[in-house]
């Protein structure tokens, strides 16, 4: 056993990335020898107790999975009881997912995903999905702190948080810009330039690829589900801006002839969230073509009718629309109830566009369905206090005089405008940073495209031209203007 241990702990950071990469690959070869499997499996208890999940990530993971395989026996689909929550292997698995080495793990994508799935299944087997949420989230962020590449594990994780109602635990993932799919491998040019997995990379697309195993083959459904579930989490947290953004991604998904059911579901929620966020329907995203919008609208008639009643301020019609059974069938009852509740707020806000000040009696008459003046005052006060709109209240000493609502306190508006502007600048600055990194990444990828490779080959041929000597072809290619100038020189 001690001999195994010395082999399994042989990997440590080498003097260079190349050296480290070679050592890791040697270890993988050792671990994958079929003859070793039964020996390592027999010693798995001792080895797992003596290996460190961070220092010996690959060995630990391999031994762990061998142990699971031995417990499964011939039935590979069976989930061993030893990995059920609270049991010994569960604790080891959770510890591993929260402390593995993010560089070594890049060589074991399939195994990493297998372990994540085991943990998720085990939590689901005892009907406590919450137990897997933090471990899976930490595993995703350890592997890729930017979480910029969408994987099947992302979709699994978001679904898990939704089912377990642990919404805020999903926010660290959802707040990041998920903007890539796993990079496609297999291009000829990639044989000439393969980055070392254990090296530092600007983007995680360098190691999360379609062949890395970190994700199963993604379909359009996985992509849409991630954003739809993400929007549902933001809805639960009543962060309507983010929910709207996520739903906009769902409804903007490129289509050829028809829209998918998930997109229609997304569109229904998008309409309701628009009302909750803006008090009116938002304009469709520019990227959605008109035929897609027509397709949506033909499928969601009750929703457009409800939105129309809301926008026109017809409370009686709104209530009649809300009484339909379609909302329950679509699982949108909660959102529709919130739309009804938001009606008074929106109507009061609209009053602010016409009047600069009103008494509570006027507000009751113009914008509210509440019967008592006291109720209206309490509602409006809570809206002003929560910052839902910019206004101030003025009470009079006489209890018979109703409170005055004055819109747009100039001093407060200036302050809040400055705060909003500052927030927007910071946010947009960060988004520009993401775009900048993505552009750099794209440029990097473009240099490795087939076209560039062919151009480089041509340049190499030109370099064989005796007039050009042994000038670096790529440098020539980069300074293409020189070639152009030579040609022009001949003409003149």
């Amino acid at each position: 056993m001690a001999e195994f241990l010395s082999q399994l702990t042989s990997v440590s950071s080498g003097s260079s990335d190349e050296d480290y990469d070679r050592r890791i690959r040697d270890l993988i070869t050792y671990l994958q020898q079929p003859s070793r499997a039964s020996e390592l499996s027999a010693a798995s208890g001792y080895l797992l107790d003596n290996l460190d999940p961070y220092l010996h990530t690959l060995s630990y993971l391999s031994i762990f999975l061998l142990k699971i395989q031995s417990l499964q026996g011939s039935n590979k689909g069976r989930l061993p009881e030893q990995i059920y929550p609270g049991r010994e292997l569960w604790l080891k698995a959770i510890r591993f997912l929260r402390s593995f080495d993010p560089f070594q793990i890049r060589y074991a994508g399939h195994e990493w995903r297998q372990l994540v799935q085991l943990v998720v299944q085990a939590a689901q087997a005892v009907s406590k999905p919450l137990l897997a949420v933090i471990a899976v989230r930490d595993a995703i962020l350890r592997l890729d702190p930017s979480s910029e590449v969408l994987t099947s594990v992302h979709t699994t994780f978001i679904k898990l948080t939704l089912v377990s109602r642990s919404y805020s635990l999903a926010v660290p993932i959802l707040e990041r810009q998920v903007c890539h799919f796993p990079a496609v491998t297999g291009h000829a040019y990639q044989n000439y330039h393969q980055p070392l997995l254990c090296g530092e990379h600007e983007s995680s697309t360098a190691f999360i690829t379609d062949a890395s195993g970190f994700s199963k083959q993604l379909t359009y459904r996985d992509h849409l589900q991630f954003f739809l579930y993400g929007a549902m989490i933001y809805m639960a947290l009543k962060r309507w801006d983010r929910a709207h953004h996520y739903l906009s991604i769902v409804i903007s998904c490129p289509v050829t002839n028809t829209v998918s059911k998930i997109m229609v579901e997304g569109y229904k929620k998008w309409l309701l969230v628009s009302l909750l966020r803006n008090g009116k329907l938002a304009a469709h995203p520019d990227v959605v073509s008109s035929h897609v919008i027509r397709a949506y609208q033909s499928l969601v008639k009750p929703y457009t009718s409800l939105a129309d009643a809301f926008e026109k301020g017809d409370y009686q019609r709104l209530k009649a629309e809300a009484a339909q059974s379609i909302w329950r069938l679509d699982n949108n009852t909660g959102l529709v109830h919130q739309v009804i509740k938001a009606f008074t707020k929106c109507m009061t806000l609209k009053l602010g566009r016409t009047f600069s000040a009103l008494t509570m009696a006027d507000v009751t008459q113009q914008a509210s369905d509440c019967s008592s003046l006291r109720e209206v005052e309490s509602l409006v006060a809570s809206l002003v206090m929560s910052g839902a709109f910019s206004a101030v209240l003025l009470q009079s000493h006489n209890y018979d005089d109703t409170t005055m609502l004055r819109f747009s306190n100039p001093i407060k508006s200036l302050y809040s405008r400055e705060q909003c502007a500052r927030g927007r600048i910071v946010k947009e600055g960060r988004q520009l940073g993401v775009i900048r990194r993505s552009i750099c990444q794209s440029n990097h990828e473009l240099e490795l495209s087939n076209e560039h490779f062919l151009f480089s080959q041509k340049s190499l041929r030109w370099s064989d031209n005796p007039g050009k000597g042994n000038v670096n072809a790529l440098n020539e290619a980069a300074g293409g203007g020189d070639i152009e100038e030579d040609i022009m020189g001949d003409i003149h």
Partner: protein, 233 residues
């Protein structure tokens, strides 16, 4: 990550050692999995679970995560929440906070029986809520009757209506102006700290900026010397 096992002593130690509500929340998040695996049929375990979920509930409120607090009450074992008095009190408080029923909130915090271990968290929340409301009222009203203001801040509304100098003094101490002729208070907006740059990526975005002051206050491990909580008015 490797925390000591969940126990009453450990819970008490966490409450005492947490340097801020955020730290308390982050520690308790880690314990939720362990709590999830405990049995509610064992009476000792039930007591511990009740304390854990009650403390976790207040950690949500102290970090201004009202929606997540509601989700947490749906995650805890339902047989426990339906029968445990402390958790029932938490649910009543949640309802009052959700509906912004100020009078009820203070009444629940002050008058309902809370376990001794939970007392510091309950008192911290009362201070937190009072200060949060003070800021909101000072921005929302240009003129306010003393009784209305007293209702928002959990003070004696009868005494405020009579213009009791002790009550009025509490408001003038935070910069509000008392107009004797109209018998109205004129709140002075309390500036909020500029938004932190990290806020955009902060998972607890519902938090108010002024919580930093609250975090410092938490360090003192005592109720802060605010004009609204030092007397019996």
């Amino acid at each position: 990550m490797d925390l000591p096992p969940l126990s009453k002593e450990q819970l008490s130690a966490v409450l005492k050692s947490s340097r801020s509500p955020t730290e308390l929340y982050n520690t308790l998040v880690e314990y939720e999995g362990e709590a999830c695996l405990m049995s509610t049929t064992d009476s000792n375990m039930s007591e511990l679970l009740s304390l854990f979920y009650s403390t976790f509930f207040f950690a949500h409120l102290l970090t201004d995560q009202i929606y997540e607090a509601r989700a947490m009450t749906q995650r805890m074992p339902q047989e426990l929440s339906q029968n445990d008095p402390s958790l029932q009190n938490c649910l009543t408080l949640l309802r009052a906070v959700w509906q912004r029923k100020y009078e009820s909130i203070y009444k629940i915090l002050r008058e309902l029986p809370w376990p001794e271990l939970l007392r510091p968290a309950v008192e911290s929340y009362e201070t937190y809520f009072q200060e949060k409301t003070l800021k909101e009222v000072s921005h929302a009203y240009e003129a306010i009757r003393p009784a209305t203001a007293a209702n928002y801040l959990g003070l004696d509304t009868g005494a405020a209506e009579q213009g009791n100098p002790a009550v009025i003094q509490k408001f003038t101490a935070v910069g509000w102006v008392w107009d004797e002729s109209t018998r109205l208070l004129h709140p002075k907006p309390i500036p909020t700290a500029p938004e932190k740059d990290t806020r955009l990526y902060d998972e607890k975005t519902g938090r108010s900026d002024w919580l930093n002051e609250e975090e410092l206050r938490w360090l003192r491990n005592n109720r802060p010397p605010s004009p609204f909580n030092d007397g019996n008015v």
